[in-house]
Amino acid sequence: MSAETMSIFSPKLAARFDALVEKYPVRRSALVPMLLYAQDEIGYLSDAVIAEVAHRIGITELDVRNVATYYSMLRFKPAGKYNVQVCTNISCMLRGAYDVFEKFQEELGIGHRGVTPDGIFSLEEVECIGACCWAPAIQVNYDFHDDLTPQSVPEILDRYRKVQDKEKNA
């Protein structure tokens, strides 16, 4: 699929994908990152995303689903604009990750895999995110926040709320 044809992705991402599939010895190598980047833009892997990715790579939609469902970062339902991922794995757990997770639940009023009614935040308990020495740590989308305590939770949420307000007013 070339950039001129109908794409559900932004022209920039479509162009990126055009290049990505050509980069590797085989087109299919682009599949995993492509799904992730598509999710970053669209919010989740909708049927339309899967169909277009399948088309771009030249494999069946079943093939795409087989792969997509394997990777835990990929989702098939929308998450919040800011997806809060709280690591509760051992190093984080030892340093109070569950308290942090509980605080997020309390602040956001949602549980694991919940989305706030305004769609701004979602919350997930996740496995190790590779920040063990700075535990407990979380990721909001791709941003790391480490050395957390329950007390730092409202402040983090505020930061994102402010960005959201700014965008809204702009």
Binding site: T60, E61, L62, D63, R65, N66, T69, Y70, S72
Partner: protein, 782 residues
């Protein structure tokens, strides 16, 4: 590869280097359990059941991925290994539901068998098992995830085996599932192979589920009644109020030409047998013009008297006979013999779907030039011209795919249209219009129509070639193509036809101008002596008979297992003063117009031989039984009797004359002697005792049709035996076989879910066809 010697459980074994240990052991009778390993499919090493101990290797090894090498030593049975296998079973049973009492697979479940063998008798699991609701993916396929042990046989069979790739593996870890290609819907060929290879009850068949327990069935291996490929099918039979019913069709007997394979028609298209519209009593048209049930005797009396009257008053030429593509060779042979010797007419034909007569003419005098299906499945190279095997000859397609996949056979495809098998082809040639006719010339070196030489050069470079060609070829085109190949010296042929015994119908002489074995009616050779009263004039073809019947020129018409009144394009047939007798399973369009209707048994309800497109002769065995019907063989014998024929002349049964003639006989030169009895004695065979024993006619077929030289041990043992159409009787000059007029051929082009008139009575096939059509409609709407 060179042979290597290695030790298994202290026994010295020898196998080619690189053989998989599991295969080497199985060949030596050492059983190694496995769920994921399936011969012919890619290796998985996923189930961990086949673990063995290899000397000097620290961890247990999987026998399915270990290749044997010189001097290795293995232990396949020890407490350590038994424990490993037991633990794997225990782990599986942690989430596997113990609903064996209602599971379709209960009683024939590999997990049950292994649990029994390895004694995981105590359930350690006290936590809740994972549950997921069962899904129906199509009318044919249901999936029960909790029962699934994720052996991936189904996904591989669908992808690697069928080249359909409709099944996937989704999610990860313990929540992994097998998933169909359309959300919860399966869009595929509906072959049911996934169900077949499932070692447990995870994939179940829509037609079989919850119908019976496996041990309530008898299993009968017979031949599928649908297409011309002739798969061996195992029918699961259970007692029913009105006989014995078929509850399942599969291929648990993998000894057939189809090996592992069976398509949707073979697997799900058996249910026409139980269709409530089935005829179960003879019908005779009454004074009011309606068909009314009568006794068999009454029906025979009416039909016999009428046929006799027409023959005696107007001559045999006023009677026409139409045979079937689904009846046995013996029935077909009997039908034409009845027509020719009792009704004294050559007006005999069948619904021809391909021009086997032309093929016979072309191949006559060239023995060893036809390819059986097994040969195609093992041929190093195949040229496929025309045809669409994936849809119309599913077994042929399977055999070619498997040959390409496992033996790296080279497939060349020449077709005017794109066909799916091109995916396996080394080279595919898109033929221009008129390309089929030009193909023989092209192969011979002419580029006038087909403008590329590369394809030809690749083919001519092959050491051994099988040419498979489709119904696109008729008459002289067949002869030209075969002539090219015969000249090459390394080429064999197969010619595609449509139904289970289309080939047999032609071979047995259901042709107006040819006797059994394609002996010309005009130059009948021994048949002149064998068939008292044989007319020498060429008879009418099927279209000619139908024309005559509408013109009032045909007094009587006997139609056996055919529905020509529904022929595509021929329009409604309005009979004019033609007495119509029909033998059939259903009240078809043709039967509806009849004066007498005899309810016939289907191929699954009788015994006899059938010949597939490739000349593979197989024994169909009686599997089911249906009260009220009779095999066509019996109906014909009784009908002949009611016409006043000498039944013994028709069916050589009983001990007539054997001892009297032995002394003076000298084979075929025995003059007035009982040639059949002499032949039987010479071949060490006994005469059959019943007039209804079709095998009596099989003897006669073997005696009179040179192509049918029978390897009885294999044939009656349930194996396929190849006929040899290159053998023509020495008394027939090849020139005498020349066609004098175009033959009426009307290919059926049945797809995966259609099977002529018969298919219309299968709910199973109709449902599948609708399911697939609905999928196409959805896709189009997207």
């Amino acid at each position: 590869m060179a042979d290597v010697t290695f030790t298994v459980d202290g026994k010295k074994l020898t196998a080619p280097a690189g053989t998989l240990l599991i295969e080497a052991c199985r060949k030596a009778g050492i059983e190694i359990p496995a769920f994921c390993y399936y011969p012919g499919l890619s290796l998985q090493a996923a189930c961990r059941m086949c673990v063995v101990r290899q000397e000097k290797v620290p961890k247990l090894q999987t026998a399915c991925t270990t290749t044997v090498a010189e001097g290795q030593a293995f232990i396949t049975d020890s407490p350590e290994i038994a424990q490993a296998r037991k633990a794997t079973i225990e782990l599986l049973l942690g989430n596997h539901p113990l609903d064996c009492p209602v599971c379709d697979a209960g009683g024939e479940c590999e997990l049950q068998d292994m649990t029994f063998k390895y004694g995981a008798g105590e359930s350690l699991m006290v936590d809740a098992k994972r549950h997921r609701d069962e899904q129906q993916w199509s009318p044919a396929v249901f999936y029960d995830r909790p029962r699934c042990i994720l052996c991936y046989r189904c996904t591989r069979m669908c992808g690697e085996g069928m080249d359909v790739w409709a099944l996937g593996i989704q999610n990860r870890g313990v929540v992994s599932v097998i998933a169909p290609n359309q959300e919860e819907r399966l869009d595929c060929e509906q072959c049911g192979m996934c169900i077949d290879v499932c070692p447990v009850g995870a994939l179940t068949s829509g037609s079989y589920r919850y119908k019976t327990r496996p041990w309530e069935m008898n299993h009968v291996s017979t031949v599928c009644t649908h297409c011309g490929d002739g798969c061996k099918v195992t029918l699961g039979i259970r007692q029913a109020i009105d006989g014995s019913e078929i509850v399942r069709a599969d291929n648990r007997d993998k000894s057939g030409i189809n090996g592992d394979f069976l398509c949707a028609k073979g697997r799900f298209g058996f249910d026409f047998v139980e269709n409530p519209e089935r005829l179960t009593t003879p019908l005779v048209r009454n004074a009011e013009g309606n068909l009314e049930p009568v006794s068999w005797e009454q029906a025979f009396r009416v039909a016999g008297a009428k046929l006799k009257e027409i023959r005696d008053s107007r001559g045999g030429n006023a009677i026409g006979v139409v045979g079937s593509n689904h009846t046995t060779n013996e029935e077909n042979y009997l039908l034409q013999k009845f027509a020719r010797t009792v009704l004294r007419t050559n007006n005999i034909d069948h619904e021809r779907t391909t021009d086997y007569a032309a093929f016979a003419r072309a191949i006559a005098g060239h023995p060893g030039k036809t390819a059986s299906l097994r040969e195609i499945a093992a041929a190093p190279s195949i040229l496929l011209i025309g045809g669409d095997p994936t849809n119309e000859h599913p077994l042929l397609a399977w055999s070619i795919r498997t040959n390409v996949r496992l033996n790296r056979a080279r497939l060349y495809v020449a077709n005017e249209r794109q066909i799916k098998l091109e995916r396996q082809a080394r080279a595919a040639l898109r033929l221009p219009s008129g390309g089929y006719a030009a193909m023989a010339g092209y192969l011979g070196g002419s580029d006038s129509v087909i403008k590329t030489s590369a394809f030809r050069e690749a083919i001519l470079g092959e050491e051994k070639l099988v040419v498979v060609f489709g119904e696109e070829y008729r008459g002289t085109a067949v002869e030209e193509l075969v002539k090219w190949g015969v000249g090459q010296g390394n080429v064999k042929f197969a010619y595609l036809g449509d139904y289970a015994n289309s080939r047999g119908a032609a071979d047995m002489g259901l042709l107006p101008d040819m006797l059994p074995g394609y002996v010309p009616a005009s130059d009948a050779g021994p048949f002149a002596q064998e068939y008292a009263g044989l007319p020498s004039t060429q008879g009418k073809t099927l279209p000619e008979m139908l024309t005559a019947a509408t013109n009032g020129a045909l007094g009587g018409l006997l139609i056996v297992g055919a529905n020509p009144f529904d022929q595509v394009g021929s329009g409604p047939v309005t009979l004019k003063d033609t007495f119509l007798i029909v033998q059939d399973i259903f009240l078809t369009e043709t039967a509806t117009a009849a004066d007498v209707v005899f309810p016939a048994a289907s191929l699954y309800e009788k015994t006899g031989t059938v010949t597939n497109s490739f000349g593979d002769l197989q024994l169909a065995r009686k599997a089911a039984d249906h009260a009220g019907v009779k095999p066509d063989f019996e109906i014909l014998v009784r009908l002949a009797d009611s016409v006043g024929a000498d039944v013994k002349a028709l069916v050589p049964f009983g001990k007539r004359g054997v001892t009297a003639d032995l002394g003076q006989s000298r084979g075929a030169q025995a003059g007035e002697a009982d040639r059949h009895a002499v032949w039987l004695a010479a071949n060490g065979l006994e005469p059959k005792l019943s007039p209804f024993d079709p095998l009596a006619l099989l003897d006669e077929i073997e005696r009179l049709v040179p192509a049918y030289k029978l390897d009885r041990l294999n044939l009656f043992g349930g194996n396929d035996v190849q006929i040899e159409p290159g053998l023509i009787p020495s008394f027939v000059p090849v020139s005498a076989l020349a066609a004098s007029r175009p033959d009426p051929v009307n290919p059926a082009h049945n797809g995966l879910f259609t099977s002529g008139t018969l298919g219309r009575y299968s709910h199973g096939l109709k449902d599948l066809e609708q399911h697939q059509a609905a999928g196409v409609a959805t896709a189009a709407a997207d």
